[in-house]
């Protein structure tokens, strides 16, 4: 269930965005990708579920092995891949539907249930998993946009979980939230690592320190250092990592 990236190069309109990236994202752990803005963290994340395909002028070279299957190249089953890899974006992005429909949407398109009763039960369970059910009980038909930003982000998380992914990609998933919501979402990720392989792009080092099992430090499109969080944070090998961690640049 691990993801293995081998010699990944991504070019967007001729610009070399990811340079020879090779790393392993271990299963059922939280891997945090850290690094300054524009270092290619989000591009790497978007390559893992092939959302990068929607960018104009993109060229991808190298291998990304998900469950041993290379997902780069035209033969890959992108639709199934994306179902398998959940995504939680930076800003909560509810679909223009009711709270219930937001979670049910993925199940419907993947034809997961035959009976509506099963779907309702599944949606409720996912909402419970993210701790949202009690807060919104009785408002399931209300537009998702009526929820607070923190609740919306948890709804998006429930929506991703509803299609039963094996991996969760989170792109600075807490950066737009208030401190309390941020903590709630962060705790959820920690509790989920028993079931999912989680890859998280984060801008705050403190967050990575709190929750990461593994850390990938990127700079200008290259992976500078990667390894268990305790090693990278306590004994950084590379000078750039040392300088980044000590706050000399960000």
């Amino acid at each position: 269930m691990a993801i293995e990236v081998q010699k990944l190069n991504v070019y967007i309109k001729g610009n070399h965005i990811l340079k020879d990236v090779s790393l392993t994202l271990p299963e059922r752990q939280i891997t945090c990708i850290i690094g300054p803005s524009g270092c290619g963290k989000s591009t790497l994340l978007r390559t893992l579920n092939r959302l990068i395909d929607t960018t104009e002028g993109v060229r991808v070279e190298g291998k990304v092995l998900v469950d041993g299957t290379d997902i780069i190249g035209s033969g890959a089953e992108i639709i199934e891949l994306r179902r398998k890899i959940g995504l939680v974006s930076q800003r909560p992005c509810p679909l223009p539907m009711s709270i219930f429909e937001n979670v049910a949407y993925g199940c419907r398109i993947n034809k997961m249930f035959k009976h509506r009763r099963q779907l309702v039960y599944h949606v409720q369970r996912k909402l419970k998993e993210v701790g949202l059910f009690d807060e919104i009980k009785g408002r399931m038909r209300a537009p998702a946009t009526r929820l607070s930003i923190g609740q919306q982000q948890r709804l998006c998380l429930a929506r991703s979980l509803a299609v039963q992914p094996e991996y969760i990609l989170a792109d600075e998933a807490t950066s737009a939230l208030d401190p309390i919501s941020s903590k709630t979402v962060e705790d959820l990720f920690v509790s989920f690592k028993q079931q999912y392989t989680i890859v998280m792009v984060t801008h705050t080092l403190h967050q990575a320190l709190r929750i990461a099992d593994n850390v990938v430090f990127m700079y200008l499109g290259e992976v500078i250092e990667t390894g268990p969080a305790s090693d990278v944070f306590n004994h950084p090998q590379h000078e750039l990592t040392q300088r980044y961690l000590s706050g000399i640049f960000s």
């Binding site: 579920n49 959302l51 929607t54 960018t55 104009e56 002028g57 639709i79 199934e80 994306r82 179902r83 890899i85 959940g86 995504l87 974006s89 800003r91 992005c93 509810p94 679909l95 223009p96 539907m97 009711s98 949407y105 993925g106 398109i109 993947n110 537009p143 998702a144 946009t145 998006c156 929506r159 991703s160 299609v163």
Partner: protein, 284 residues
């Protein structure tokens, strides 16, 4: 002290100018509506709305202009439907299928902008040329086709505007759940439904009020067309022809037709607003 006085004067002047402009626009609107109502109500009666004209539309004083009302509804209804059928796929293609920053999308948008600016008489002339080429006569079908051509750029531009502001994150969110582009379109429709409604409203407004494009293509007749190949009367042309009549009663009928036209557009706008608000319920 001096500076603050200067600032105050400037502020008062700017505010005064804004008020003047507001009053001018508002006054214009009121005077247009007043003219149409006061003159139109003189000739207005149930007969006007429910009867066909008697004795020719140019000089006849009898009957009403049911022919023009029905003709306009036929043309506007059909062309709005056709316009939607053609425009919606174009907008989806531009915004969902083509990637962000696509050159083709840029060229297409430029082309639609140019088409948007083409005067309606040019559409009329173009339609007329095509009809002559195919040996067609002025007919309901000709009117529908030309009005459809006229409103397609309005449809596309308005919907495109609504869709371009569409948060790309929604597309990503849908794709990330394993949705195909086709499935994602349904999400897009939910989000841009108010945009589609606005586009339809603008198009209907333009289609129902345009005289130049239907003059050569739909023609004019005193009867209600029973097939696509028969000529059809329209409200703007009912106004145009009757207004140029030397007989005062016929001129009054022109104002009555203008009144019907204005009230129809007003009603469509109000109903449209209502529908748009309902559609916007789930909008992100």
């Amino acid at each position: 002290m001096k500076v603050s006085r200067l600032k105050r004067i400037r502020e008062t002047l700017a505010k005064g100018m804004m008020w003047c402009s507001m009053l001018l626009v508002f006054g214009l609107l009121v005077s247009v509506i007043w003219t149409i109502f006061s003159k139109g109500m003189k000739a207005m009666s149930w007969d006007m709305l429910l009867k066909l004209p008697g004795g020719g539309f140019y000089i006849g004083k009898e009957g009403g202009f049911l022919n023009a009302i029905v003709g306009s509804l036929y043309i506007v209804g059909a062309s709005t439907l056709l316009g939607l059928v053609v425009s919606v796929p174009v907008v989806f293609f531009l915004n969902v299928y083509l990637k962000k920053g696509s050159r083709l999308a840029y060229v297409a948008r430029l082309a639609f902008d140019v088409l948007f600016g083409v005067p309606s008489i040019v559409y009329g002339a173009f339609g007329f040329t095509v009809m002559v080429y195919f040996g067609l006569r002025a007919s309901l079908l000709g009117g529908i086709i030309v009005i459809t051509l006229l409103i397609i750029p309005i449809f596309i531009r308005t919907m495109d505007e609504a869709t371009r502001n569409f948060p790309r994150d929604i597309l990503d969110a849908s794709f990330a759940l394993g949705a195909t582009r086709w499935e994602t379109l349904k999400v897009v429709v939910r989000q841009i439904a108010p945009g589609i409604a606005t586009a339809a409203l603008l198009s209907v407004g333009r289609a129902i009020g345009d005289a130049a494009s239907v003059m050569f293509t739909a023609g004019y007749t005193d009867s209600i067309p029973t097939s696509l190949s028969q000529p059809a009367a329209t409200l703007p042309l009912a106004v145009f022809f009757q207004l140029s009549s030397p007989i005062p009663e016929v001129v009054d009928r022109a104002y009555a037709a203008a009144l019907v036209l204005t009230v129809t557009v007003l009603l469509i706008s109000i109903v449209g607003r209502f529908i748009t608000t309902r559609f916007s319920k789930n909008k992100v």
